[in-house]
């Protein structure tokens, strides 16, 4: 492994892409993957307490966030979801 060459390359090209400018009024479409036992319960509590948040957040319940598969996240992005929130 060419460590020096590698670090030189990463110096030259930042690994983080520059964020695109969001058009005015644009709201992200967000999909959350939530653990049944904690984050999903928290989402429930948010409702019980009538806490308001944007409606374009939807929750997929998982038995544990350890169940999350890479492909879930990628599929969501491929389908046009703007943000994935994994909570557990």
């Amino acid at each position: 492994m060419d460590k020096l060459a590698e670090s030189a390359a990463s110096d030259a090209v930042s690994p983080v892409e520059k964020p695109h400018e969001a058009p005015p009024g644009w709201e992200p479409n967000i999909l959350a993957f939530a653990c049944h036992y904690c984050a999903f319960a928290a989402a429930d509590l948010a409702g019980v307490m009538r806490l308001s948040y944007p409606s374009n957040v939807k929750v997929v319940r998982l038995p544990c966030t350890g169940k999350l598969d890479h492909i879930y996240v990628l599929r969501a992005f491929e389908k046009g979801v703007d943000g994935v929130f994994v909570a557990g």
Binding site: D69, H70, I71, L74, R75, F77, E78
Partner: protein, 239 residues
């Protein structure tokens, strides 16, 4: 098992960007175990390529598929008809699989999706370590079961060089000095005296340096030889 790592995505993208119909083709044996190139990783890589293509505005169809092993034709022959419908096969099998499929696929290019590394053990989940270099001439009985060819940075045969520092190799404090381990192990085994003898220069021709290798089981070799004989005899009568 064979250990590989997925290639940096930018490198993959440069390979595939000019193709219209790409199959990411996984292998479900060694490279699946090291989470580099099994069906699951092929699916992930296909998804990443599709997204990159969409971002770059490149029209591209990307699918994924996986078979048990790429190094035995019986596994991929049944899907070859489908495989041949693509412009490019991006194989996430090890280098063996890429070569092997490439030879048999016809005119479609087969590109590597992973960098094939080494034969590795799995000391713990997600960790793979090189222990054998496949040199073709095993001397582990002389070195306490620890291979100096694979695990000494200089493949030394006669004990540790002067670079051993606190049991670590001079190339990095992270790397164990194989000879340090060998000496300690041989002490435990009570066979340190084996290390008092000079090992003469090795015959490296059993390894990669002797040219590509081939192993043929004896009974198969006999058959091959018989076939050759028959062919030459047949050739002889033709003339």
């Amino acid at each position: 098992m064979i250990v590989g790592e997925q290639k940096p995505f930018d490198e993959v993208w440069e390979m595939v960007r000019s193709f219209k119909k790409v199959l990411v083709f996984g292998c479900n044996t060694c490279v699946a175990i090291c989470h580099a190139g099994g069906g699951k990783e092929a699916e992930i890589l296909a998804s990443l390529i599709r997204m990159k293509a969409a971002q770059e505005g490149v029209a591209m169809e990307v699918d994924h598929l996986a078979v048990e092993r790429h190094c035995e034709p019986e596994y991929f022959t049944p899907v070859m008809e489908k495989v041949r419908t693509y412009d490019l096969v991006l194989s996430t099998a090890c280098g063996v699989g890429v070569n092997f499929l490439s030879e048999r696929i016809g005119t479609i290019p087969v590109y590597p999706g992973i960098d094939t590394g080494f034969f590795g053990a799995v000391p713990q989940a997600g960790v793979f370590t090189e222990l054998c270099a496949g040199c073709g001439k095993c001397i582990l009985h002389l070195t306490g079961g620890i291979c100096p060819v694979a695990r000494c940075s200089k493949s030394l045969m006669n004990g540790p060089c002067g670079g051993t520092n606190k049991g670590k190799c001079e190339i990095s404090p992270e790397v164990d000095c194989a000879w340090y381990l060998i000496v300690e192990r041989m002490k435990q085994l009570g066979t340190l005296d084996k290390l008092y003898e000079v090992q003469p220069p090795r015959n490296w021709s059993t390894g990669l340096y002797g040219g590509p290798r081939r192993v043929v089981l004896e009974h198969i070799r006999d058959l091959e030889e018989q076939d050759e004989k028959q062919e030459s005899q047949a050739g002889g009568t033709d003339k």
